[in-house]
Amino acid sequence: MKKLRVIARLDIKNNTVVKGIHLEGLRVVGRPDELADRYYSQGVDELLYVDAVASLYERNSLTEIIKAAARRVFVPMTVGGGIRKIEDITEILHSGADKVAVNTAAIRNPEFLRQAVHKFGSQCIVLSVQAKRRGPGQWEAYTETGRERTHRDAIAWIREALALGVGEVLLTSVDAEGTKKGFDLELVAAAARVCAVPLIVSGGAGSAQHLVDVLRTPGVDAVAMASVLHYGLLTIGDAKSALRGDGLEVRL
């Protein structure tokens, strides 16, 4: 039986792990190596690193962080934030990451996604979608960590990117992100209906019940959490116990 994945998300700025609300107002919450070790020892299924600044200078420090993590953490690692060129992907994969998540560059130039999939394979390329509610049953895709509008329907954009061959989708609700008030379940369900590849949902986890609620949605494969872990409200073990207690399959 394939297991639902519980993923820890580490937003990186100036060699520290930071966390904001609605992807803004970043506060330092810890050191990347310490948090990676902690979540790995708690049984995390995957790590997601996001470059919160997405500058060239930041990239160099991020690759060093990934290299160090790859020596100690033996679960898949995904890296996103500021990936603009094929060479960026090469560099990140050579640091020890298994997958890269692309948002802004993909939506500005969908051909970039196609090239990335062709060169590295679908399994390496994750489409990152930052979705913000615009009305009932309507979400717009945002870029630049939730700041820039694209005037594109988020669900339609997922459909288009799937046709270009992305191997996984990371969906973040900008509205719910950092609030710890639960996932935007309506958004998650809408995305899950069109997503033929694994779907990771992020943004809003505040309790074990939130995780149960979102992972009960058909078509959701994984959940990514940040605040709730960084602030010690839940451990990976707590999360998995709750999911298992509710009859969901997780890796122990």
Partner: protein
């Protein structure tokens, strides 16, 4: 003990090196036939398409080197695409010949008549492996979770060479294959946490015992 990761341009060699280092062993990463011939064990990694992988091995002249190393008694561990390349043939984007070290074929999940089409392909994530027989490679691994990423699976012609299976989309497929010292796993042990590291330790132990 000389462990060599076959570098043919596919697969995350850095992470394999890290995982073996965690198990106390240094691996050499090489595509030099002389280095491969001198190895006690070859690790054949791989991510990507079968045909591309085979072409790259052939272009470097490594397909023949790997086959003769296997005949000479070197241990081999194929990982993911590396396991699939051990087989005779694959139907990935046309019919391709593999290394032929293990009799069998590589098929798409959708080629299996019983596969549940509502299951997502690729099969990506953690899944239990189900050991089918006692084997030193699987020592201490009772129904552990391993990390898989694949759309194709290997079907060994000789069922006794299926050391473990896994289930996905209503189908049971070979997750660990072995013929003597030629071994392969469909999942990524280097990304499968403590269970994966245990399998790597077991592999190292098998080579130690035979030296």
């Amino acid at each position: 003990m000389k462990l060599v990761v076959v570098d043919y341009g596919l697969g995350n060699l850095y992470n394999l090196g890290n995982a073996f280092a965690r198990c106390g062993r240094t691996v050499e990463v090489s595509h030099d036939p002389a280095v491969l011939r001198a190895a006690d064990a070859l690790i054949l990694p791989g991510v990507g398409a079968f045909g591309d992988g085979k072409r790259r091995l052939e272009a470097l002249g490594l397909d023949a080197v790997i086959r003769s190393a296997a005949e000479a008694g070197a241990a081999i561990l194929g990982i993911c695409l590396g396991m699939q390349l051990l087989m005779d043939t694959s139907e990935e984007f046309g019919l391709h010949q593999g290394l032929g070290l293990i009799a069998g074929e590589v098929l798409h999940f959708h080629s299996h008549p019983a596969f549940d089409r509502s299951a997502k392909v690729p099969h990506m994530g953690w899944n239990d492996i189900l050991p089918q027989r006692e084997h030193p490679l699987l020592r201490g691994l009772a129904a552990p979770d391993m990390y898989f990423v694949h759309s194709y699976y290997a079907r060994a012609a000789d069922a006794s060479q299926v050391l473990a299976t896994a289930r996905y989309g209503g189908v049971e497929f070979c997750s660990v294959v072995g013929r003597g010292r030629i071994l392969g796993c469909q999942f990524h042990p280097e990304k499968s946490s403590a269970s994966g590291l245990r399998l790597i330790e077991n592999f190292i132990g098998m080579i130690e015992d035979s030296l």
